[in-house]
Symmetry: C2
Subunit: 334 residues, 2 copies
Amino acid sequence: MTPKVVAVAGATGLVGRQMMQVLEERNFPVKSLKLLASERSKGKTLTFKGETIPVEVLSEDSFKGVDVALFSAGGGTSKKYSPCAAKDGCVVVDNSSAWRMDPNVPLVVPEVNAHDIAKHQGIIANPNCSTIQMVVVLKPLHDAAKIKRVVVSTYQAVSGAGIKALDELKAQTLAILEGREPECSVFPYPIAFNCLPQIPQSDAFADNGYSTEELKMVNETKKIMGDDSIRVTATTVRVPVFSGHSESVNVETEKKLTAQQAREILSKAEGVVVQDDLSKQLYPLAPNAVGKSETFVGRIREDVSHPSALDMWIVSDNLLKGAALNAVQIAERL
Amino acid sequence: MTPKVVAVAGATGLVGRQMMQVLEERNFPVKSLKLLASERSKGKTLTFKGETIPVEVLSEDSFKGVDVALFSAGGGTSKKYSPCAAKDGCVVVDNSSAWRMDPNVPLVVPEVNAHDIAKHQGIIANPNCSTIQMVVVLKPLHDAAKIKRVVVSTYQAVSGAGIKALDELKAQTLAILEGREPECSVFPYPIAFNCLPQIPQSDAFADNGYSTEELKMVNETKKIMGDDSIRVTATTVRVPVFSGHSESVNVETEKKLTAQQAREILSKAEGVVVQDDLSKQLYPLAPNAVGKSETFVGRIREDVSHPSALDMWIVSDNLLKGAALNAVQIAERL
């Protein structure tokens, strides 16, 4: 690949910083790197490959001469600036939810539907973190046995809500241990020593009672897998874990798969690591997944309540495969 | 009810202490209270209604003249001493898993199957904590619409693993916040800032890949509900919450229920409180359930993946309704 002029929009956020790190670690051929953020970050600098780079204020003119822009700046910012970037010939890989369900925008997890990248018209959407790690595991099972229905409950880390949320978890944890009242600013209720069944914490619920995050899992799964017949229900829950999302996933398939068949299929799947040896208490755990590229799956077993279903436990680094890494992997395949 | 001679076996444990507190708070007619524990607790005293009571060492002769014994002393101890107690005319309400699936022992959640109490032959089993709070909510739905299948994922508090586990959570949390290595003694991996898909942490998994806790939910649900046709699958997970179990429950019914119908049914159900107003971000939360007798349910919605299923979020105090309170409620109905 010829070296590219790359921009990271939202460079100072948790995912923006991870994007820079992933570009560096994977030796993405960067000719030059442009760091963009809001007015608030004016004057800041960040380091890339030992070089200090100033953070510029994102504007409509930011993308002239830029080949690829990785956006992690929120939906509103993406809605406003991604079309400007695309008009200037830049390809945007956007981590927000702004474009994901747009029929003209491919929604891509490279291990699942890399072929959709070619259809882009300047913008490619990076799916929701919880959905990415789930479909990486579901796709090979779907190819082997056709998935009919998925019932998923998530155990999502606080890093998915940003830097301030991580600070809030730490401050609340200390407060509770010291017998003080925990203070809430990011979350509506304390997240320390608690489980909050509302993601994102700031979004209203849909009329049907689902949260935004839950509907993302329902809808994005179908689009990425390219199969509208796959039915999904989700209950998404924030847990007091710093990083690494865990998921309890029940998968009904048309053709019955044994647990052993599923393990064999998944052990050959790209981007998936099977961690499933109960005699050694080996199963995926969030802290072990942090900093890793792969999605980990274990606790695979045949569902005793259904003639053709599997239960499993899927864990991945929500900032990496769930966001920054998946975006860079898309850029690599452009 | 005429005043009874009551014994609490395992009085010094978390559940034992809760049993004493519940007896006191509910004004159970206690003629006299006998506190029993293992050799390790010899010399200890505990307070009941302002009176200091010495802890006696549990033996085969402990139950002479005792009317009701509440056992929370582990499966092995119960296997050994419950028959002695029953032989001496004492009725045992046992919180361990030792007798739960014995066909001669009723397994009772008073709101669900109080009628089974009358069948006892000296021993009545108190179900598993996760199962109790789930069936309290499932039973009225089953009566209204016949439940076919349940897919549950749990978010279980550390208090379910005992006093030492709570100390371990606190110590590990502080260690991680201070950048030290967390030490594990109760749990195989740190529970602080983590989710462990293995309950109990010390039990081997079954050959079919299910944990002991998961199989309890599968089997005890059928026995308590008195309907073997109800199919259940469970994934049980320990989360870093001090007390209060949360559950994400998907319920398929023969007859379709709307979310609103389910709310109406549950709002009239004994022992259940519906907390479900999304416009006010009202849903059940573990810390809010602690110290409460009821089981709380919210996030009730029609499953978009199935023509006749509901998703919901069920929370209760695992030491109270999940253990001590349910046991005392059984004793009250004797």
